[in-house]
């Protein structure tokens, strides 16, 4: 049941990818509107799958990487659709839709399912808040990263005075920079909230706020990068190219945090440790 719902969501995200890419090429308005609806349909299936799995397991299914990816993907698509509704930068869909499709594909392929015995530590409101806030922060910062890439592409063309394929198709620098800033101002507090709830929860269950876990260290590093970025933007008026470059750097650290720290480094955040031996 969950499987078939996920496959439906996957198909919808691939369909949305095709539509958004077609919009990017042909610049025909109805395509992107249709793409957003297809994506929303995919999100509905995705939501149902998550609800069903949570119901079946009795907890948020994030104990294995595939599950965590699935949840992150859900937050990203939801955030994008929200953004698309309030502040439409249409070309962004051409990057978000394939990313969403790839992640759901990864979630299906990667080992998942119910871990045989999940540590009781992984249940409870504070943990759900920790995971939810962190993933929402990741999603906003992913959009921040994508808009940063678009900004760099567009800025390069305007500076070099060579107008290629992307020039007409990308929005103005101002719009991209505003989007970049917006996503940062939303993503940074969410990430901060995720870190605070996480450390409170750690204090509550493990007895200490901070335990030098690789994921904690890397997240702190990313947080510092984003803090610097936000400060420079607000105080010095950083914008454009430098802000985009720093946003991309921050995102790369986040990716290492999310993927690398969970899979290759040992610490209590890694998925292997979620399951009690």
């Amino acid at each position: 049941m969950t499987e078939s719902l996920l496959y439906l969501a996957l198909a919808a995200y691939f369909g949305a990818t095709a539509l958004w890419l077609a919009f990017f090429l042909a610049q025909w308005e109805p395509l992107c509107r249709f793409g957003a609806w297809v994506m929303a349909g995919g999100l509905a299936c995705h939501t149902l799958a998550l609800i069903q799995r949570t119901w079946a397991y009795g907890y948020l299914p994030v104990a294995v990487f595939g599950g965590a990816l699935l949840l992150f993907d859900w937050v990203l698509v939801a955030a994008f659709l929200l953004l698309n509704w309030r502040y439409p930068i249409k070309v962004l869909g051409a990057l978000v839709a394939p990313l969403a499709a790839l992640m759901i594909y990864g979630a299906i392929v990667l080992p998942q399912g119910q871990a045989s015995a999940v540590s009781p530590l992984l249940k409870g409101f504070w943990l759900t808040a920790h995971i939810g806030l962190t993933l929402a922060g990741y999603a906003a910062l992913t959009l921040n990263f994508l808009s940063g890439i678009f900004y760099l592409v567009q800025e390069r063309q305007l500076k070099a005075k060579q107008f290629g394929f992307f020039y007409r198709r990308l929005p103005s620098l101002q719009q991209l920079d505003t989007l970049n800033y917006w996503c940062l101002t939303i993503g940074f507090p969410l990430l901060t909230g995720g870190m605070i709830t996480g450390s409170l929860y750690a204090q509550h269950t493990l007895g200490h706020f901070w335990s030098w876990d690789p994921k904690e260290i890397l997240t702190l590093l990313a947080w510092l990068i984003y803090a610097v970025l936000l400060h420079e933007r607000l105080a010095v008026g950083w914008r454009g190219r430098r802000a985009s470059l720093l946003a991309i750097l921050g995102f790369l650290v986040l990716v290492v945090t999310f993927v690398g720290a969970n899979l290759w480094m040992t610490g209590y955040h890694s998925f292997a440790k979620f399951v009690q031996p």
Binding site: Q27, Q174, G237, R241
Partner: protein, 435 residues
């Protein structure tokens, strides 16, 4: 009935000839009266713009109609027939349709993709309908033309790329700032091109306009014209703090602004983007300024390069538009051909009716007295037999006609099969024998 288009445009005729031909047109009342009553022409429309003079007609026979239109154009005494003959183009049938579509879609314009021509054709059509000179074919053709032109404009990017330096500057500004509403423009010095760009920017509802000039008096006059404020050139750096777009075209021999100056200004502006347009030769702004973050400096050569790239883009889009026009021409031609079928269908039905009436009369004579009911039964019998017999040929004509490439053959076949041209032929032979 077929379509005929004769005319001259900027490519075939000199401006002198176009002027003289256009002189025929001011008295449209007279011109329409003259052509509408001509027996050679069924429908007519005149279209006259500064780049073209064209006559579009629907006529039963091509040759006399063409002669009539040529005669109309050479009526003006000062038009030399030789010049007219070399510059006049004549398009018939699908070629005329295609030509009209191309003109309306601005594929035949001097400035490829310019938007005015469609409005001019709409006006010409309005005039023609006002003089009751159009009929079913031209009405349908013109409405199709408008929709084709609109499709070309929306589905291809033929009008999307700025092809003048001042428009190119506005396009770049929009790519940097998005909306230009509320932006502050600083005009340094005055020049034709800078002022043109300023006017284009004003149509985008920019906010403040500041004019900096070496002589304050001239600056004041300019500022008054554009409803801005005048400042002296010494304040340039201070004014740059507020400006978003700077248009520079002074006659200064040295750079007005150098990299270090702009760098300092950018820090004080908190890095808000700055778009500098340097139209002056020699240049007013140090080219190294472009290396600064969030500053975009374009000089006249850069803008011209943009325009050249846009021309290429328009030409590429024009190729797509041509394909669209070709497809629509075929569609219209199909419709036109279904029209050709109707006379044959009517002739078929007429012939059947005549035969029925004749045979009925003969039979009634032989039968002697019959009741009214019996007579009606006979009529119904004849009618249903002929209707059923003609049903298939008519369907064949209608259907085959809209699909075949050379429908005239089918039409001829049916006409010969049913000997529909008998009357005309006998009339012709009688005429010949009389001679």
């Amino acid at each position: 009935m077929n379509l005929l288009l004769v005319g001259v445009n900027h490519q075939t005729a000199s401006v002198e000839l176009r002027e003289k031909l256009a002189c025929l047109m001011p008295d449209l009342q007279q011109a329409y009266q003259n052509l509408k009553d001509a027996p050679e022409l069924a429908e007519i429309m005149l279209c006259c713009t500064c780049n073209r003079v064209e006559l579009l007609a629907v006529a039963p026979e091509m040759a006399p109609a063409e002669a009539r239109l040529r005669a109309f154009l050479s009526e003006a005494p000062e038009i030399p027939p030789a010049a007219l003959n070399t510059s006049l183009y004549v398009h018939q049938g699908p070629e005329a349709v295609r030509h009209l579509f191309r003109v309306a879609a601005s594929l035949d314009s001097m400035v490829l993709g310019e938007p005015q021509i469609l409005g001019q054709i709409k006006e010409a059509y309005r005039q023609a309908t006002g003089h009751r000179a159009t009929g079913p074919i031209l009405n349908r053709l013109l409405h199709k033309t408008f929709s084709v032109a609109k499709r070309v404009r929306t589905e291809t990017g033929i009008g999307d790329h700025a092809v003048s330096v001042s428009y190119a500057a506005v396009g770049l500004a929009r790519k940097i700032f998005g909306e230009l509403a509320g932006m502050t423009v600083l005009l340094v010095g005055a020049g034709e091109m800078a002022e043109l760009a300023l006017e284009h920017l004003q149509t985008q509802k920019v906010g403040r306009i500041i004019v900096a000039n070496r002589t304050l008096e001239r600056g004041l006059r300019l500022a008054e014209r554009y409803r801005g404020e005048a400042v002296s050139l010494e304040e340039l750096e201070a004014q740059l703090l507020q400006a978003d777009i700077l248009l520079s075209s002074t006659g200064s021999e040295s750079y007005l602004l150098r990299r270090e100056q702009v760098r300092a200004v950018m820090r004080r502006r908190k890095q808000r983007s700055l778009f500098l347009i340097d139209i002056a030769v020699p240049r007013d702004l140090d080219p190294a300024i472009n290396e600064l973050d969030n500053v975009y400096l374009y000089n006249i050569d850069d803008l011209q390069e943009v325009v050249e790239q846009n021309w290429q883009a328009r030409r590429q889009e024009a190729a797509r538009a041509e394909r669209l026009v070709a497809a629509e021409t075929v569609k219209f031609q199909d419709w036109l051909q279904t029209l050709e079928v109707y006379p044959t269908i009517i002739a078929l039905k007429d012939k059947a009716a005549v035969i029925c009436a004749g045979e009925l009369k003969k039979t009634l004579g032989q039968l002697g007295p019959v009741s009214e009911e019996q007579r009606q039964a006979l009529e119904v019998l004849l009618n249903s037999v002929t209707q059923k017999l003609l049903h298939d040929p008519i369907i064949f004509l209608k259907r085959e006609h809209s699909m075949k490439k050379r429908p005239q053959q089918e039409l001829d076949l049916v006409r010969r099969l049913f000997n529909l041209d008998q009357e005309r032929q006998t009339a012709e032979t009688e005429e010949e024998s009389a001679q």
